[in-house]
């Protein structure tokens, strides 16, 4: 603690930390003023909280998502089952919240993976010298030309059906993240990092040439310090925007995987598997498909609003 007042003034001379904090502050203010983004955020937070509550508080969850009562199958909404029951008499309310939980996990998990790979690859290309940059960018070009959905399907097929630890088909080894969910996250994440990597590289290249980095270097800051303290935070804005837009795409990709038979393992419900299951019954029991379908739409919409707001707030140049 004692050393801090000594270190700080040197930077304040350049106004760096202040300017830095100020930018985030301004961005935050812009975001809060964006009504649609706030609605999106509110919906996302509400749904996340509800999905956790339904899993932990019996009064909210009401039923085990996998508990069957086959003689009460295909019921419409009632006081006992707010959103009706499915083909095995399971409660749609409990099922759809489990679906939200799984789909959010997949959406967020994918973007965490994308952030790691994207930032690492992008930074390596920008800072690793011309040879490495060339090598990485050629690879990125190839990955960019690879059809996304096809690559995800192929990757999912490669990862599936193996006795691997952690992501294998056996007992879940990370609580709440059984192998098939991790396989879905990996398949989507390993394909979707390309945009982020390109973005980070571009940002870092321009930052490298910027005045304040040159100044920090002149003051003798170490390279890791420059990268982590000065450059990384300044690339984060656009990255956060891309990641936010990536969440609904990942949720959509998961649903597509579920539709062609590469979804998560039953009886776990994701929104995709719920839509797939409901599709078979969409005339006789429309609740089975309508509820998860509407939930996907609302979730995707909220993330899009939030993404728009974040873009306007964090990346003023990206505004049109």
């Amino acid at each position: 603690m004692a050393s801090e007042p000594i270190a700080l003034p040197a930077f304040e001379e350049f106004g760096l930390p202040v300017r830095h904090r100020g930018l985030w502050r301004q961005a935050f203010d812009r975001l809060v003023r964006n009504r649609l983004a706030m609605v999106g955020l509110a919906i996302v937070v509400t749904m996340a909280v509800l999905s956790v509550l339904t899993a932990t508080v019996d009064a909210v969850g009401r039923y085990e998502p996998s508990a069957q009562a086959v003689r009460e199958a295909h019921q419409g909404p009632s006081a006992a089952h707010w959103l009706g029951t499915d083909n095995l008499g399971r409660d749609n309310w409990a099922r759809v919240w489990e679906g939200v939980r799984i789909s959010l996990r997949i959406g967020l998990g994918t973007q965490v993976l994308v952030a790691f790979i994207g930032i690492a690859v992008g930074a390596a290309a920008a800072l690793g010298g011309r040879f490495l940059d060339n090598l990485i960018m050629r690879f990125v070009d190839v990955a960019y030309a690879f059809p996304d959905l096809l690559a995800i399907v192929l990757m999912r097929a490669v990862l599936s059906q193996r006795p691997w630890p952690i992501i294998g088909n056996g007992d879940p080894q990370i609580p709440g993240l059984p192998g098939t969910i991790l396989q879905v996250i990996l398949a989507i994440g390993l394909v979707s990092w390309v945009t982020t990597a390109r973005l980070v590289r571009g940002q870092m290249l321009s930052l490298k040439a910027s005045d304040f980095v040159t100044a920090a270097r002149a003051l003798g800051a170490s390279t890791p310090r420059i990268v982590f303290v000065h450059m990384l935070p300044n690339t984060l804005g656009p990255v956060i925007v891309v990641l936010t837009f990536g969440i609904p795409l990942a949720i959509y990709a998961e649903a597509v995987l579920a539709l062609i038979g590469f979804g998560v393992e039953p009886p776990t419900a994701s929104l995709g598997t719920l839509v797939f299951a409901g599709y078979s019954y969409f005339r006789s029991n429309p609740w089975m498909i309508s509820v998860p379908a509407a939930t996907i739409a609302i979730l995707m919409l909220s993330f899009t609003f939030l993404g728009d707001g974040l873009r306007d707030a964090l990346d003023p140049r990206g505004r049109r």
Binding site: S66, A67, V70, L88, D171, P266, R283
Partner: protein, 561 residues
């Protein structure tokens, strides 16, 4: 037609089958309100849903949809009639059987022609048998011909030289005595051989187009010559096949001018197309059966098809080698709830492996072994305790291997929950895709496996030989029981039909009550949506149907005004 573990979402259920006969069996007979039967009308075109074939070669195929296609355009010496009895088709008469029962002589009708005008001769039929036994073609139903002298030796000659193969082919016990006479030599007298001669793997080859057994079948089916009621006149892969009448067909000429198969894998979609009037016949979406019964009371046809689906168990894996464990699992399955609630009444719950009607019993007697293996939570718990796992303690986690489909998921999820609530044991559901599932099954790499058998020909032996004898080619669950082996070897070539059937009945009892590899759960029903103007379909729906109702005799379909 094949091990009934098929392809898809549709797999378990598309071809499915049970009896709602009570609901819609009676009001479908006869004509309209007038009551007088209409006379069949010549002409008309229809579009029906079908599943695309994998191979068009009858001497290779094993899939129901392949054989369904082939039945439209090829025919054999005999054909099973509506009552499952063999009657002459290309043959002029029933076979002459020698006194020792080992030589069959068959005369074919005079003046037979292929659809392209070439003569259809005895050699074409001989070539068909040769092709199925040919190791290079590797027919998947060769084992049904293994009683023909030399067929097994020839089939096993995969790695031999061409000359050796030719020598083995020459030794085959089938030859053309003249242009219209064929002779078969058998190793043992076989009571079911005439029935075998109705089946696709014995059908003729147009040797003017496919000269020998090693030549692949033409890629484009329109390039073939046909001897059945229809010819293939157009084929668009993944989309449709168009059949038109074969003027050279030896039997009664087909009524319809044109039948189009529209390839649709998704029954939800095909049912919508049926609703919109785009199809004359479609496979009913069995997962939605109850709603369909209300929507189409007079268009939905449901009837028994000889299929048994059970929970297959790998007897080599502990603790499934313990009879008490198998009994516990079997008794924990509420078959009635599975059939009525989970599978929407699309199937009939059962406790017998061989369907009762195949054993000559009342078709409704599916509760034959209810006492021993049927649903009974108390006895299930007792059996598990007797096996050394009181209240499920110490029981290892087993896995149920399924492919991804709505029906398979629902079944597996139901079983998982039943085992948990009744036996307090955990099972995993392992989802793999179709090729992996098949591979794992045939290699015996599974623990619990929902699957079963669909009848190839109406005889109890078809349900048992190769499936439950020690070392049998289809015995993937490793059933090995000296008593069963002994009875099978006695019954197999027993020419006393009465005694033979009693022996198979006893084998079925042993298989079912000892759960020698499979705990029977239900018999399937076939559910088909039929446009009321399309006639000759309901009337000819039998256990021989391949995919659609009455598709073993499409020449009898007709369209009323």
């Amino acid at each position: 037609m094949e091990k009934f573990n098929w392809r898809a979402l549709l797999g378990l259920f598309a071809l499915a089958a049970v009896v709602l006969a009570a609901a819609c069996g009676d009001d479908e007979e006869g004509g309209g309100p007038g009551g007088e039967a209409e006379q069949p009308r010549q002409g008309g075109e229809i579009v029906v849903q079908y599943l695309e074939f994998q191979s068009f070669d009858p001497h290779f195929s094993s899939f129901a949809q392949d054989i369904g296609h082939q039945t439209f355009v090829f025919r054999g010496l005999y054909k099973l009639n509506k009552d499952n009895e063999p009657v002459p088709e290309m043959a002029a008469d029933m076979p002459q059987i020698s006194a020792d029962g080992k030589t069959y002589t068959v005369k074919i009708k005079p003046g037979l022609k292929w659809s392209d005008g070439d003569d259809l001769k005895a050699e074409d039929f001989v070539a068909g048998i040769e092709r199925t036994c040919n190791p290079d073609n590797a027919g998947e139903y060769q084992y049904l011909l293994s009683n023909i002298v030399g067929c097994d030796d020839y089939y096993a000659a995969t790695d031999k030289s061409a000359a050796e193969k030719a020598a083995l082919r020459a030794k085959l016990g089938v030859r053309a005595i003249d242009d219209t006479t064929i002779e078969f030599k058998l190793q043992q007298p076989q009571p079911t051989f005439t029935t075998i001669l109705t089946m696709w793997m014995t059908w003729p080859v147009p040797i003017h187009i496919v000269p020998d057994g090693s030549t692949p079948w033409p890629e484009d089916p329109t390039k073939l010559a046909f001897n059945g009621p229809f010819v293939v006149s157009e084929y668009v892969p993944k989309e449709r096949m168009v059949f038109t009448r074969n003027p050279n067909y030896a039997g009664q000429p087909a009524y319809l001018d044109k039948i189009t198969f529209r390839y649709i894998e998704d029954n939800v979609q095909s049912n919508n197309a049926f609703r919109a009037g785009e199809l004359h016949m479609a496979l009913a979406d069995a997962t939605n059966l109850k709603a369909l019964q209300q929507e189409f009371p007079d268009k939905l046809l449901s009837y028994v098809t000889p299929t048994t689906i059970g929970l297959e168990m790998q007897l080599k894996k502990k603790p499934l080698d313990n009879l008490n464990v198998r009994l516990a699992l079997s008794r924990a399955i509420d078959r009635k709830a599975l059939a009525e609630n989970v599978l929407q009444g699309a199937v009939t719950p059962t406790t017998t492996w061989v369907p009762p009607e195949v054993l000559g019993l009342d078709p409704n007697a599916t509760d034959l072994f209810e006492e021993q293996i049927g649903f009974n939570p108390e006895k299930a718990k007792e059996a598990l305790a007797a096996a050394g796992y009181p209240n499920g303690q110490g029981f290892p986690t087993l896995s149920i291997l399924i492919r991804d489909s709505a029906g398979a998921r629902a079944t597996a999820e139901f079983l998982k929950e039943q085992f948990k609530t009744i036996l307090n044991i955990d099972v995993n559901i392992e989802i793999v895709d179709a090729p992996t599932r098949s591979k794992r099954f045939t290699e015996g790499q599974f623990e619990l496996f929902p699957g079963g058998w669909h009848q190839d020909y109406p005889d109890p032996e078809n349900w048992i030989i190769g499936l439950f004898d020690t070392g049998g080619t289809l015995n993937n669950y490793n059933c090995s029981d000296p008593e069963i082996d002994d009875l099978i070897s006695k019954a197999r070539y027993n020419t006393n039909d009465q005694e033979r059937r009693e022996q198979y009945k006893k084998v079925n009892e042993l298989i079912s009550t000892r759960i020698c590899g499979v705990a029977p759960m239900y018999h399937s029903l076939n559910h088909v949506l039929i446009d009321p103007r399309l006639k000759g379909v309901r009337e000819n729906a039998t256990s021989q149907d391949r995919v659609l109702a009455g598709d073993w005799a499409p020449e009898l379909w007709w369209l009323s005004e």
